[in-house]
Amino acid sequence: MNSKPFIYYRPGSQAEIVALLDELSQKGLTYAFYAGGTELITQFRRGQGIVDAVIDLKGIESLKKIEFFEEKMVIGSAVPLNHVIDRTSIGSIKRALEGIADHTVRNTLTIGGNICGRLPYREAILPLLCREAQVTVLEEGLLNVYKLESLFDKRLKLKANALLWSIEVDTNPMALEISQRHTATTDVDYPIIHHYAVLDKDRLTIALSGFSNFPIYEQFDFLTLIEAEDKMNLLMAPFENQVKSDDRGSAEYRLALLNVCTKNIIEAVMANGGLK
């Protein structure tokens, strides 16, 4: 249990949070953003993640909204995963997010928290990477838009005192989109491999969580794949040397599962979009 008191803030607007972040950084106070609280509370219980201040993001309306535009969905970073699951029409995104924690936890666990949190899985980022999402980041008082992949390296690389504001993702159906998630035993657990693949036009993108110490992804040229003699090797080679071993599964077992996932993708590619 966290036995150190902290200051609680609940800013109500973009302007207020900008001012607050300035103030905290001037005073040299450490802080944590609080949206769903699922990770903070478990950290505090273990006496970890101790900070001077906690900034509750739930007072800022635009962070809690999902908006639909033509072919696009804009998700505020403090939207709980279950709200995204309820409102997206893309089956694979639904399935990918449904693998995270359990239903009760997903009622509060937010998409921003899942992506920016300390845990190494960050499964919500898999479909976003594969669908080439854009992210809006509050930094130095401004909302700047970036391609997700340009900020992503093992985790979302944000500047000091920056906040993930919203995520914009394409809502068009893709030629192929498959989420394959494996756990050590029961489903409600971290993945030992979550294999997410999207085929769009001339490109196959594969993103993995739980396989390595952080999410990893790779893009493959479609024609090269079709022509490759050893398709398995082509699709597995970039990942194989990044495999980890931990209490949930050995590297050998993860590789065996990667093999199965990859076979399924090749079968699906060849059967579905493959020879168009």
Binding site: M1, T185, D187, Y253, V260
Partner: protein
């Protein structure tokens, strides 16, 4: 009237409305709060504890450390200091306790305590602990007091050895034409009851000690508190409110001793000590582990001729219930099969792991896994259907058990249980079906039996009082831990008294000063024993009702019957009185009153039980045996090792079903628990003996999504000394599951999956090893 009906549980509405109160719900303004500091090491000398900063921290009333107390506590073997004194023996052991005015302040001070350890190399398995030069975890064992039925071996790490010697082993070997050997292993783990343990202690100025505890055994707590702390038994009051699941984990003495010592230190003020989930997993005891080696032989007709059994139970750092678990496993060591020649050594071994207490199945689940794996290995090698093999060997009336007591007229019908399980699974239990290129299906069958392991003088009692509308109040010492026994007891009272079920009110809390003595709500004996006491209490009340009525009606008592809330003359219903007119004493029209209120009392004590002989195990410790069979059908993906349990079935001879839904719930619950135990549970350790999965994020238990289709059948061969013929059914269905799952998967893969938990990774590894080494088809 209400027997064999699925009445709602008496506590259901309180539970669904959030009005049910548990131990931790109790708050008073005077209450102080305790927090414990625990050891991060599995085995270490305590060199120094610095408590000064904690003493001076805000709100702190007292800081307790091990050297404050020189006594040991222990259920059967006094081996545990209330707080580690000079040495910690497992990860999570308590090294200090802080009492403060709030839990937050207690935690804050706790974090200021500094402990300096000299870390030692831990012993992490029973077989390692039994090595000739293994360090002694309890070098002072010879000074520990213990109960007579257990046999510690000072100078070793053995806390108990129970021996079974039956028949002539040489003859068993010579009559066997097929012999197999097999080894199995089960890790220690936890019950993961929904409610973490809590104890509140207050010592009044009169010397009276008032305890509230999440306990399955308030009378055990009372007895042990009296013995350990030299308190007059009449001055200890233990209250057990509703308990949020026990599964054996709350059947001994846990936090009560510490809470009492904490209260003593602060002048008797009430002190609440409640576990966090993490403390409940590591600091309080969990379930026992096992390494076993079994050898068995059959003759040409596949009849078992002998078994040689070595059970090495992993007790962890302290003995608690573990010594008696190893004894219970010896008493039932062959599983529900008749075996003429037996040698069994069932040993309880100390290691530097979190210690073990009772767990659903109490030695039978572990023993059952070893036996059922062995039997399936025989079946596989001999190309005999596993159902047939069990049908041939199932124990029957007239057979002798491993302790050589003769199974009497009340013996359940295990042959029919095997038949029903075979039928429910669609037969062909020796066939592996190929579903498609990557998927196969396989089935399995196991037998199970269990007798309560308990003192020979185990008792129960019941008190019935009445209300002015003729309804009654039932008070027993059985704790409601989610099993529904109080509802079953109310159904028995309703049946006996001819009262509607709704007019039998149940006193939910147990208070050792108010409730009649009842050994413990454990060992699946609640309905059996308290049920017999309720029957006697009802008979007593009926006699009194008739006495009163006979005076008013001027007829002999023997000509009266009680039915439909009336007492009346057998041949003339109009000559009678309502119970409302009788139960609080009859009042004549002129105001005269007679007889007074009806108070029924009933009691029960186990009959004819004896301890077992230290050298041969001969004796009669087994009050009643519940027999049954189980099986599963699994579907395996050979590429990943992942499998799904499609169907789990159980047929069990319970004597008499008092409440079908509650009975089914107990059976299905036990099967589910057994599935979690077999497929995913168990602590993992690093080489320093630290638990790696001591939080529920990492310690996985079964979820509803993992549940298969269940099918449950009951057989009713009456238990002649049970209430309406009923016998115990609370734990039994957990017992066959490890064997059933491992047998089905072993058959599906053609390998031996003998180590729990059987994870998909282990299954795949077994499959790959098999194809790499091109192992012969013999398993």
């Amino acid at each position: 009237m209400s027997l064999s009906n699925s009445k709602y549980r008496k506590e259901s509405l309180d539970k669904v409305h959030g009005q049910a109160l548990y131990g931790n719900d109790l708050m008073t303004p005077q209450m102080l709060h305790a927090a414990v500091k625990t050891s991060p090491h599995a085995y270490a000398k305590i060199e120094k504890i610095e408590t000064e900063k904690a003493q001076n921290s805000k709100g702190v009333k007292a800081v307790l450390i091990g050297t404050d107390f020189d006594m040991n506590l222990g259920l059967y073997l006094c081996d545990k200091p209330p707080i580690a004194r000079s040495c910690v023996k497992h990860h999570g052991e308590v090294v200090a306790l802080v009492v403060a005015d709030s839990y937050e302040n207690a935690c804050r001070a706790r974090d200021l305590i500094e402990v300096k350890y000299e870390v030692l190399r831990p012993i992490l398995s029973p077989l390692e602990a039994l090595q000739p030069h293994a360090a002694l975890i309890h070098p002072e064992m010879s000074t520990y007091s213990h109960i007579a039925p257990i046999h510690p071996e000072p100078g070793s790490n053995i806390a108990n050895r129970t021996k079974i010697r039956k028949g002539d082993l040489k003859q068993g070997y010579s009559q066997s034409v097929h012999i197999i050997e097999s080894q199995v292993e089960i890790p220690i783990g936890d019950h993961v009851a929904m409610e973490p343990r809590v104890a509140i202690a207050e010592i009044k100025k009169t010397g009276e000690v008032i305890m509230t505890s999440s306990t399955q055994a308030p009378f055990v707590v009372k007895g042990l508190m009296s013995a350990f702390f030299n308190i007059e038994p009449g001055k200890i009051v233990v209250k057990a409110p509703l308990v949020g699941g026990g599964f054996g984990g709350k059947a001994g003495i846990q936090l009560e001793g510490l809470a009492y010592l904490a209260s003593l230190k602060v002048g008797g003020r009430p002190v609440k000590l409640v576990n966090t989930r993490e403390e409940d997993l590591l600091t309080s005891p969990g379930h026992i582990g096992l390494q076993a080696h079994v050898k068995m032989g059959v003759d040409e007709a596949f009849k078992l001729q002998f078994m040689e059994l070595d059970y090495y139970f992993n007790s962890g750092a302290y003995a608690d219930y573990a010594v008696n678990i190893s004894r219970a496993a010896a008493i039932s060591c062959t599983g529900p099969y008749y075996v003429p020649h037996i040698r069994c050594d069932s040993v309880c071994v100390y290691t530097n792991m979190p210690f073990a207490t009772a767990y659903r199945g109490f030695g039978h689940i572990e023993m059952g896994f070893a036996i059922e794996r062995g039997l399936d290995e025989l079946a596989y090698r001999l190309h005999v259907n596993p159902y047939e093999l069990r049908r041939i060997n199932g124990i029957q009336k007239g057979d002798t058990t491993p302790v050589q007591s003769i199974l009497g007229k009340s013996t359940g019908d295990i042959a029919t249980c095997f038949d029903e399980v075979n039928k429910m699974l669609g037969g062909e239990l020796d066939v592996v079906y190929r579903v498609d290129k990557n998927t196969v299906r396989a089935k399995s069958i196991t037998g199970l039996w269990k007798a309560p392991a308990m003192p020979t003088n185990t008792d129960a009692g019941a008190i019935l009082t009445f209300n002015s509308d003729g309804s009654c109040n039932l008070n027993t010492g059985v704790v409601e831990i989610g099993q529904g026994t109080k509802t079953g007891l109310a159904q028995i009272a309703s049946e006996m008294l001819g009262l509607p079920f709704d007019k039998v009110h149940v006193h939910m809390e147990v208070d050792t000063q108010i409730s009649p003595s009842d050994w413990a709500t454990a060992a699946s004996r609640g309905l059996f024993m308290a049920g017999n006491a309720v029957i006697e209490a009802c008979e007593d009340a009926l006699t009194q009702i008739k006495q009163t009525a006979s005076q008013v009606l001027r007829v002999p008592e023997r000509e009266l019957i009680v039915k439909n809330e009336r007492v009346y003359l057998k041949e003339d219903e109009t000559c009678g009185l309502s119970l409302a007119e009788v139960v609080m004493g009859y009042v004549y029209p002129n105001g005269n009153a007679i007889c007074g209120q009806i108070i029924g009392s009933g009691r029960y004590i186990a009959r004819h039980l004896t301890d077992i002989d230290a050298e041969t195990g001969v004796g009669h410790p087994d009050l009643e045996w519940t027999l049954g069979a189980e099986g599963v059908e699994i579907e395996l993906d050979e590429r990943t090792g992942q499998y799904k349990i499609l169907k789990a079935v159980c047929c069990i001879d319970v004597g008499k079903v008092i409440n079908p839904q509650i009975a089914r719930g107990q059976i299905v619950g036990g099967m589910a628990m057994g599935m979690g135990y077999t497929t995913m549970e168990g602590f993992t350790f690093n080489e320093r003996g630290q638990v790696l999965n001591g939080v529920l994020r990492d310690y996985k238990i079964m979820r509803i999504e993992d549940a298969p289709q269940y099918e449950v059948k009951f057989i009713e061969t009456p238990q002649l000394d049970g209430p309406f013929g009923a016998r115990g059914l609370g734990e039994q269905s957990v017992i066959g599951m490890p064997g059933a799952i491992s047998n089905a998967l072993s058959r599906a893969t053609g390998t031996h999956l003998n180590t729990i938990p059987i994870t998909p990774e282990k299954v795949l590894k077994a499959l790959l090893n098999k194809s790499n080494e091109e192992v012969d088809c013999e398993f």
